[in-house]
């Protein structure tokens, strides 16, 4: 195993004896010029002239302004640069300090995912993937890349996945959680087919803009609601993936939900089971209770850790979800970063924390134990 373990990592939790695996790090280009080497002249012209055009009206600026500049920790800004744009700084502040053995990159915007223009989104995805390899992975063996795909175009996404298949530097396919249609719809099935072929899990990370109102009752007013609505969007995706029969067609498909929260998962399974028993006639393609697919085909990352009012209630939900399904994520460099030393209450048994820090991710990503 190609692991570079720092000699001293003051920020590493002692229980991480099976490795410290961070499945959510967000690299960012200092400027869009960083993507240029991998964009055609036509696509560079589009990017530099018309910009990224997501499914909302804010050409610049956020629909819901964040809690901090670039949603980032105040101490994550390298001098003169933006957070997570500088490998040396990221190494020192995060990988070395916390003793991260493996960190998975999940590039968010400006990645072109969910763009109104499918061809542009596909060109950007290719560029962002090359950028991850060249800019981050080439000089840092602890990092892994995600296959960024233009998910609104299933066929183009499948091409990008097949292009990366077999390249062990890519460990998963990356989608955003708010898509133009629910993820179980057939337009997305080429993604699942290619991912299963390549043996890659499909991760969806909270965020993105579907083009629909952010709640099923209209647009909310506040950032606090936008954050809350990540959970409801992801719930809808889970329901769609299960009810559409995706896991009947692709039983080996593994879905990882990143930054979606996790305490809501049992309730969604229970609710689906309850109503499925009454509505089985509508969905004969489901051969098992919905919660069984949920237990079999889904994984979750921890950040932001759900925090019950009585902290020990966390044990109930983690047990209901399945201890082997829970992966540590830091969300570096964002403001709501989870420090591996403090994110997990001490009453979570040490061997459970140990697995959340390392073994569960290695099992999902098919890596040998540390």
């Amino acid at each position: 195993m190609n692991v570079v373990r720092p000699i001293a990592a003051p920020g590493r939790p002692a229980v991480a004896t099976l490795g410290l695996f961070d499945c959510d790090i967000h690299p960012r280009p200092l400027s869009l010029e960083e993507y240029r080497p991998w964009l055609s002249a036509e696509m560079w012209h589009r990017l530099s002239t018309y910009g990224i055009r997501p499914r909302h009206g804010f050409a610049k600026g956020y629909p819901f302004p964040k809690a901090a500049p670039l949603a980032s920790r105040r101490d994550a800004w390298p001098p003169g640069k933006v957070p997570a744009s500088d490998l040396d700084f990221l190494r020192a502040q995060h990988l070395d300090f916390h003793g991260i053995d493996i960190g998975v990159l999940n590039p968010l915007q400006p990645s072109g995912q969910g763009d109104q223009n499918d061809a542009f989104s596909a060109a950007m995805a290719y560029a962002v993937n090359e950028w991850q390899l060249e800019r981050w992975l080439r000089d840092e063996p602890r990092l892994r890349a995600s296959v960024v795909v233009p998910y609104e175009d299933g066929e183009a996404s499948a091409r990008e996945i097949r292009r990366r298949a077999g390249d062990r530097r890519f460990v998963q396919v990356l989608l955003m959680s708010r898509t133009a249609e629910p993820l179980g719809r057939k337009r997305y099935w080429p993604i699942y087919e290619a991912a299963c072929e390549a043996g890659l899990p499909v991760a969806f990370h909270a965020f993105g803009y579907s083009g629909w109102a952010m709640t099923n009752g209209g647009w909310p007013s506040f950032y606090i609601e936008e954050v809350s609505e990540h959970a409801t969007s992801c719930q809808s995706q889970v329901i769609s993936l299960i009810v559409e029969g995706v896991f009947e067609r692709f039983p080996s498909l593994r879905i990882l939900m990143i930054e979606c929260g996790f305490a809501w998962i049992p309730s969604v399974g229970w609710r689906l089971d309850k109503h499925w028993r009454k509505l089985k006639d509508e969905v004969p393609h489901l051969r098992r209770a919905p919660s069984e697919y949920l237990r079999q085909n889904f994984w979750v990352s921890t950040q932001p850790m759900d925090e019950p009012e009585r902290p020990e209630h966390l044990l109930d939900v983690m047990e209901w979800i399945g201890w082997d399904r829970i992966l540590y994520a830091s969300d570096y460099p964002h403001w709501d970063f989870d420090d591996p030393r403090t994110a997990f209450p001490a009453f979570i048994p040490p061997e459970r924390r140990r697995d959340i820090f390392g073994a569960n991710a290695r099992a999902l990503y098919g890596m040998p134990a540390a």
Binding site: L183, N216, G217, I224, E244, S267, W276, K278
Partner: protein
């Protein structure tokens, strides 16, 4: 002293069709229905033939489930031994895009429930169905019907055009608070948006499941916009909402609030506390397994035995036979759910005492 009998907080009388409401429409709208050939108004939330919409043994041959007082009495009120039943009409006055038409149907529906149900069985109470497309119309409807003490709350659907906490609705909440009426929020959508925030699903099962997301978003809106700070006397009752989603929703909202409460400074205490003080939920459907140990742990997550209200959800199919109490609920909690909690929630049910 005899203990008051149970209060069934969610019953759905259903007009046999649009025609049943015509006598209660104002002349202009009666003419419109006829001249424009309006034959039906049905909501996609409850397709009449879908299994959940009505239990098989509550579907009369040749008639409509939930359509007559005799059905209600035989199938729910008498059978489950309710001393009081609250009628929540789901005839979809929220669907029409014309706010005038929506308000006209709401008035007709409320007059229908008063004349054909409330006047015929003293055990019955009802919601004022609110035409929220126009807050002005909604306030007018509250003012028109609030003097009739048998109307015990105002009712909206979980999914409207904009989230329920928005300031545009505050005159409605002021009127409800003034009259001591809770705001009831029932499962359902005005279908101004897809039932998921990521677009339209393929299956009705997804549509019905999506109410759970609608309730979370609605509650987040009511809390973060400051409705409960502005109207400290307002109570909210979630109907047909499910229950098990509430604790994780509150954990997440409360944690996020700790991080970004500068954005909503009027939310001056943890959302979980606000919700426990103001919000109640009915117990059908109860979205948990039957395992009593699991249910006990789930109830522990709610951190209160005051939140749940008894409901059969008649004639919707949530349970079979007489199993109106969700399996796994501890027996000592039932009296609270059936009587104490509804009485504490509904000021107007406390006024005259409850038939025992």
């Amino acid at each position: 002293m005899t203990r008051p009998r149970a209060i069934d907080c969610d019953l759905h009388p259903t007009p046999a069709g649009l025609a049943a409401l015509v006598p209660y429409l104002e002349p202009y709208w009666r003419d419109s229905v006829e001249e424009r050939g309006m034959e039906a108004l049905e909501s996609a939330s409850y397709p009449p033939n879908a299994p959940i919409t009505a239990r098989a043994d509550w579907r009369p041959r040749g008639g409509r489930a939930g359509a007559t007082l005799a059905q209600l009495q035989a199938e729910a009120l008498d059978r489950f031994g309710a001393g009081i039943g609250i009628l929540n009409c789901l005839f979809p006055v929220q669907l029409p895009f014309s706010e005038d038409m929506s308000a006209a149907f709401a008035r007709a529906l409320n007059d229908w429930v008063r004349a054909e149900w409330l006047d015929r069985d003293p055990r019955l109470r009802a919601s004022i169905v609110l035409p929220m497309a126009s807050p002005e119309h909604a306030v007018e409807e509250i003012e028109r019907l609030a003097p009739d003490r048998r109307f015990v709350q105002g009712m909206i659907l979980a999914m409207g055009e904009v989230p329920a906490g928005r300031r545009t609705f505050w005159p409605v909440y002021a009127a409800l608070e003034r009259h001591g009426l809770p705001l009831a929020i029932h499962a359902g959508s005005a279908y101004r948006h897809p039932v998921t925030s990521v677009g339209w699903p393929s299956w009705y099962l997804e549509d019905y499941a999506a109410h759970q997301q609608g309730f979370q978003s609605t509650l987040a809106s009511l809390v973060t916009e400051g409705v409960f700070a502005k109207f400290p006397g307002l109570k909210v009752v979630l109907l047909e909402s499910g229950v098990s989603w509430l604790p994780p929703f509150l954990w997440r909202l409360t944690k996020t609030w700790k991080g970004v409460r500068f954005e909503v400074p009027w939310v001056d205490r943890p959302p979980a506390e606000i919700v426990r003080d103001h919000v109640r939920l009915t117990v059908q459907p109860f979205d948990a397994p039957d395992d009593p140990d699991l249910v006990r742990r789930l109830l522990d997550h709610l951190r209160s035995d005051e939140l749940l209200l008894w409901a059969s959800d008649w004639p919707h199919w949530q349970f079979d036979g007489d199993a109106v109490a969700p399996p796994g609920l501890p027996a000592d909690l039932l009296p609270r759910i059936m009587v104490d909690n509804p009485l504490a929630t509904y000021a107007r049910l406390r006024e005259e005492g409850v038939p025992s």
